[in-house]
């Protein structure tokens, strides 16, 4: 009885081996099918990034640095600062993606990033940006940004010219406030 059971158990691996089960994958010839939610290498939409650096602030390993990149939107991102990710330190937690206020940073299905040196796996916006403006579009946008800035400056000048009449009042009220503050502090 005992022997029969044991022989049955030894038959088990044979049974399993007969089934056509895929055990090893032919990486990198055949890539595994990754789900939609996969957290791989970042994908940056440079046309909408506002350069707020909230991704850099939330990163637990501080692997994100804001660097200059030409092909973004100068209307929204005035300093043209875009995230650069050090994949030597990134742990793919996805906090940067959750934190992005304009949802321009996403994580995609690409996972290969090997390089010969450490500096090779520091990927700048040029590598990360999946959407970007062409040089001509950027030039147009920059021209528009200059035009808007010029308009604003003109408006300011115009406002400044109108102001002198009211200035006396404004200065007086400002002085009053300055005087009032220490008195309040002293009372508290």
């Amino acid at each position: 009885m005992l022997k029969r059971k044991m022989i049955k158990n030894f038959g088990w691996p044979l049974k399993t081996a007969m089934r056509e089960i895929e055990v090893t994958r032919l990486y990198p010839e055949v890539m595994m099918e990754l789900p939609e939610n996969e957290r791989g290498i970042h994908e940056l939409d440079a046309t909408t990034c506002i350069g707020c650096a909230s991704c850099a602030r939330v990163c637990p390993n501080s692997c994100i640095e804001m660097v200059h990149f030409k092909y973004g939107n100068p209307l929204k991102n005035k300093k043209m600062q875009f995230p650069q990710v050090d994949y030597g330190r990134c742990m793919f937690c996805g906090l940067c993606v959750d934190e992005c206020p304009v949802e321009c940073l996403k994580m995609g299905k690409k996972v290969t990033m090997a390089g010969w040196e450490r500096k090779d796996i520091i990927k700048g916006p040029d590598f990360l940006a999946t959407k970007r403006f062409s040089a001509k579009e950027v030039a147009d946008l920059e021209a528009e940004a200059k035009r808007i800035a010029a308009e604003k400056a003109a408006a300011k000048k115009a406002a400044a010219k109108e102001k002198p009449a009211k200035e006396g009042n404004a200065a007086g009220s400002a002085k009053k406030k300055v005087d009032a503050k220490p008195a309040e502090g002293g009372a508290a």
Binding site: L2, K5, M6, K8, N9, F10, W12, P13, T16, I21, V23, L34, P35, E36, N37, E38, R39, V58, P60, M91, F92, C93, G94, L95, D98, M107
Partner: protein
């Protein structure tokens, strides 16, 4: 049924004046500050009169602004009632010292040693106050105090000074620089105690005894920990454990990260149970914030945690079978093939295979994909049939039975006394499961059994784990039927700063009771996070279990505990 306010009034009537401050958070949580002179009597009273027979751990807190330190004793019961008493004992910051509970509870030993080496709080009456996680060179600087200035940099070889010893060997020392002495990073006075080696060698009584090393790098151990056994012939006389080889100081790191960033670090404590670690931390913070989790998010959390339990039990059983390796086939690969399907299921939701960072304060990161229920419907029955096959296989294999039955038996009384938890405790016949004891999320609405064993030997522990997989599958199937539509995150924005407060939250980890004690001082970072991990308690019970067994059984016993030293060391 006893509740927290009854426990408090019982203590107050038995020891008038002993309770300095108290707060009844709910029926299940009691916070009380106890007079440090009466803590032993109060604990005795709790154990003898009020059935608090589970000493769950203790935590040290350094209140530098109040110039005092605190030791928080966490007391619970093995099923008699559901109250967790958090008893605080205060001590001044100069020469901090409190009474040791090792005389009452056997497992207080390690928890107090850890507090001593990290905070420098002396425990009066502790039998072996030696370092546990830190190495000998680092003792004396008390790293988890709030005014800790950092260790001197001993990593550069240029600073090493060669010294020739009288025996003719060359030793290298790192003399501190004057700048370091001034900065206060050098330990001025180091406590005296016998080293681990000396303690071991003290136990050798005759020439026929010797010490055998298993680890820290050994095929037997799932991660690095040192298990030395004192053997006489084929029998083990005593076991010695040294842990801390992968001590990462996660609790201290979390004090220096924002609340949100802390979730990432809970993943890294134990990557096979990262979802329950996430849940534990987020649950504790939600308790302080007073957040309600939307129902759909609760169901998603339960589904994923149960999936995570299945894959953890599969890898645990596979690892155990690799260790004993006497069954004539290679079941590790079969378990891994099955586990792959579960991992793919989890990955389709979270986007990561092991370190998920999935649970958020008040919700979850992603919703379930559309085809998730269908995928589950094909995968879960397959896993079920495979697990049934495994159970049958182990039940009828004579070699396996001879190897495993009545080996490493832990009786119900002993298991309760040593404070072990999880499948290892349930195998001894004690139905103690956090999903029932401290129900969270939607667990109270779900129908499931707590799996218990009968004898508490190695075979029972493995059997318990395999049958728990079936139970988890049952839970997931119920959740998939019931899961409502709705939001997965709270509507209000989560504040960056958490209001001052404290919470203790317990979840059932695949390895047992996982608790996190989180304190907030109203800032954007936690003031203190204490992790009461399940494997820490299990590892502590290993040396007494090994006494008197054969050397060949050591791996069977250690393997059947399903270990994760990374979580024990933190």
């Amino acid at each position: 049924m006893t509740n927290a306010s009854e426990v408090l009034s019982s203590i107050q009537s038995a020891f008038p004046g002993a309770v300095l401050d108290s707060r009844v958070e709910s029926d299940r949580r009691l916070w009380a500050t106890i007079d440090s002179k009466k803590i032993l009597d109060v604990c005795k009273h709790l154990t003898n009169k009020l059935n608090f027979d589970h000493y769950s751990g203790s935590a040290g807190v350094d209140w530098i602004a109040r110039n005092e330190m605190e030791v928080v004793e966490i007391m619970a019961s093995h099923g008699a009632h559901k109250v967790v008493a958090m008893l605080k004992v205060k001590t001044p910051r100069e020469n901090p010292s409190v009474k040791s509970l090792t005389g009452l509870y056997w497992n207080a030993n390690w928890y107090e040693r850890e507090i001593w080496e990290m905070f420098g709080i002396n425990f009066e009456g502790h039998p072996e106050l030696y370092p546990l996680l830190l190495s000998d060179q680092l003792i004396g600087s008390w790293p988890w105090r709030k005014d800790f200035k950092g260790y001197p940099d001993l990593t550069t070889g240029e600073r090493a000074v060669a010294i020739t010893t009288p025996e003719g060997y060359t030793e290298y020392r790192f003399p501190p620089t004057p700048a370091e002495v001034e900065a206060g990073t050098v330990v001025a006075e180091r406590p005296k105690y016998p080293t681990f080696r000396e303690r071991e060698e003290r136990e050798i009584k005759s020439d026929s005894e010797m010490i055998m090393h298993l680890g820290p790098q050994h095929a037997m151990v799932p991660g690095p920990f040192l298990l030395d056994v004192l053997v006489e012939g084929e029998r083990v006389k005593k076991g010695f454990l040294d842990v801390g080889y992968i001590h990462k100081g996660i609790e201290k790191i979390m004090e220096n990260r924002t609340w949100l960033q802390g979730i990432v670090y809970t993943d890294r404590m134990c990557y096979v149970a990262s979802l329950s670690n996430n849940e534990c931390y987020c649950g504790a913070v939600e308790k302080i914030l007073g957040l309600e989790v939307p129902e759909r998010a609760q169901y998603i959390r339960v589904i994923l945690e149960e999936l995570s339990r299945i894959q953890s039990h599969l890898i645990g059983t596979g690892e155990f079978l690799t260790l004993v390796a006497g069954v004539g086939y290679a079941p590790w690969q079969y378990m891994i093939i099955d586990r792959e399907r579960i991992i793919s299921l989890i990955e389709s939701v979270t986007g990561a295979r092991l370190t998920h960072t999935f649970v958020r304060f008040g919700g979850v990161r992603n919703d379930l994909p559309d085809d998730f229920a269908e995928k589950c419907k094909t995968t879960l029955p397959y896993i079920k049939s495979r697990v049934n096959e495994f159970i049958e296989l182990f039940a009828q294999d004579a070699i396996y039975q001879k190897r495993m039955e009545n080996v490493g038996v832990l009786s119900a009384e002993d298991a309760k006394r040593v404070g072990i938890a999880g499948p290892a405790l349930r195998a001894s016949g004690v139905a103690y499961d956090m999903r029932v004891e401290d129900p969270i999320l939607v667990y109270p609405d779900l129908d499931f059994k707590v799996i218990v064993g009968t004898k508490g030997d190695c075979a029972d522990r493995v059997d318990c784990r395999l049958r728990e997989i079936l139970e988890s599958i049952h839970i997931i199937e119920q959740c998939l039927d019931r899961i409502p539509a709705g939001p997965i995150k709270p509507e209000a924005k989560i504040p960056k700063k958490v209001p001052a407060g404290e919470a203790y939250y317990r979840v059932e980890d695949p390895r047992g009771e996982m608790g996190m004690y989180v304190i907030s001082d109203g800032g954007d970072k936690p003031y203190r996070v204490k992790v009461r991990g399940p494997f820490y308690a299990t590892l502590q019970t290993l040396p007494p279990l090994l006494e008197g067994v054969y050397i060949a059984d050591v791996v069977a016993i250690a393997g059947s505990m399903d270990g994760c030293p990374s979580e024990a060391d933190r």
